[in-house]
């Protein structure tokens, strides 16, 4: 790696002040599992690295009535997976965060970093979008909230402004009659990157029909994509196998995969159909149970 100036501020205020003072050309360091690979192999040469390791209160995972689950941007994937509140109320996050890399990667890597790195295949993105997460961003101009649906702009590109940091992720409390599931296809069992993925989150009305649904497709577009056509198939209907199958077929039309070394466009479309059906089945079962 090439030389860079290293900063480890003790507070968010100090961090955003450094970002403003140093200007463009720097990188923020959370777990480092994406950044260090990019610095070693992908030609990323930051002028400075701003580490979040010493910023107080950035690694918490807690539940706040009214806000829901609050994940600090530096909380590791392991912190999220093992948190009792997440296990009990947000199992889709346990599923997705637990698929990233290996134990070693999960112990270092962070949810915040996974989002800000903004790979189209990022595993924590579709579930957090399906859950309606809100991102809390800080800069030296102040704080702002951004729905996560507005966060991803392109491959590796987010809506973070100049000198802006992701501080926290809030995930609203799920409705009692709701359930979610995340699945991805990878050629290997572990340590791989999604060829295609789907997060489904379903909320049922008292009569068992679908009151709300979000279906988010990963790795089949420049950003995670919301499967609007698939969702429209389900709204107001009872989630029978036929309806779910129709929604899964519609999800294919919502996808925009390319062909690359991990899979062809045709194969990815096939995967979306299968993964949409599987995750909808499980989400509905979870909502009913």
């Amino acid at each position: 790696m090439r030389a860079f100036a290293y900063h480890a501020p003790a507070s968010l205020a100090e961090a955003v002040a450094i970002l403003r003072r140093e200007g463009p050309g720097g990188r923020v360091l959370a777990g480092g599992t994406d950044l260090l690979v990019q610095m070693k192999e992908r030609g990323v040469v930051p002028r400075y690295v701003l580490s979040l390791r010493a910023v107080a209160d950035l690694s918490h995972v807690s539940f706040k009535p009214g806000r829901g689950l609050v994940i600090g941007s530096r909380a590791s994937l392991t912190d999220v997976i093992t948190n009792p509140i997440v296990v009990e109320r947000y199992p889709i996050l346990v599923e997705s965060a637990g698929l990233v890399g290996s134990h070693q990667i999960q112990n270092l890597g962070t949810v915040g970093g996974n989002l800000c790195n903004a790979a189209p295949s990022a595993d924590t993105a579709p579930p957090l979008i399906a859950l309606g997460a809100i991102l809390h961003l800080h800069s030296d101009q102040g704080e702002r909230e951004l729905p996560i649906t507005d966060f991803f702009v392109g491959p590796g590109r987010t809506a973070l402004g100049e000198g802006e940091l992701l501080a926290e992720i809030s995930v609203p409390e799920p409705h009692p009659r709701s359930g979610g599931a995340y699945e991805r296809y990878t050629p290997r069992q572990e340590m791989d990157i999604a060829v295609a993925s789907v997060a489904s989150f379903v909320t049922l009305a008292a009569d068992g029909s679908v009151a709300g649904v979000r279906i988010i497709l990963g790795a089949v577009g420049p950003t995670p994509l919301q499967a609007h056509a698939a969702e429209a198939v389900l709204i107001g209907k009872r989630p029978t196998a036929d309806v779910i199958e129709s929604a899964a077929i519609a999800a294919v039309s919502d996808s925009r995969p390319i062909s690359d070394q991990r899979g062809s466009e045709t194969y990815r479309k096939h995967l979306i159909n299968v993964l949409a059906r599987r995750t909808l089945d499980r989400a509905v079962a979870s909502a009913q149970g």
């Binding site: 480890a8 480092g32 070693k40 580490s51 134990h103 070693q104 069992q189 572990e190």
Partner: protein
């Protein structure tokens, strides 16, 4: 390029290490401390040969920037044996033949130790998942899995004896 001091505890000993910020924890261990048990296999967090315990959790030390280790506790393979007695996991690997060239072995041992500390009687599936971030080009993994099973039994037996 200014060097910096990193204060880190390695295998129970406090160390004050001089380094440029762009080096990694792996570099600190191998080059500053001559603890060459931890290996570099890929440098990008894919192979697990560089696995050490950071505050008790297995991580790829090749992905930890040196200054990120400030104030942390690191355990390497050199820290497993106590009073010149091998750790049960080390004995099990030897007796079960869980290694050939040995390059993956330190990383495997650290992942195994972390597993057994949190799950005293892991299933085969749990063992295989625990080492899924550690690649081995020689053994085909079966004897490694067997060694971890044997070690878990030894450690449970030791704990039972110690508690009486």
């Amino acid at each position: 390029m200014a060097k910096m001091i990193v204060n880190v505890e390695v295998n129970g000993e406090r160390q004050e290490l001089l380094t440029e910020p762009y080096r990694t924890l792996l570099d600190l261990l191998r080059d500053n401390l001559s603890l060459t048990g931890t290996k570099e296999g890929c440098g990008t967090g894919d192979c697990g040969a560089c696995t050490v315990l950071l505050d008790g959790r297995p991580v790829n030390s090749c992905l930890v920037l040196a200054p990120e280790a400030e104030g942390r506790h690191v355990t390497t393979v050199e820290g497993l044996a106590e009073d010149n007695r091998l750790h049960p996991i080390q004995t099990a690997f030897i007796e079960e033949g869980g290694l050939q060239c040995g390059i993956c072995t330190p990383g495997m041992l650290m992942s195994a130790v972390a597993l057994l500390r949190s799950n005293a009687e892991p299933s085969e599936q749990a063992i295989r998942y625990a080492i899924s971030g550690n690649l081995c080009r020689c053994t085909g993994y079966d004897k490694i899995v067997r060694a971890i099973e044997v070690a878990s039994k030894t450690m449970q037996a030791d704990a039972a004896i110690a508690s009486h």
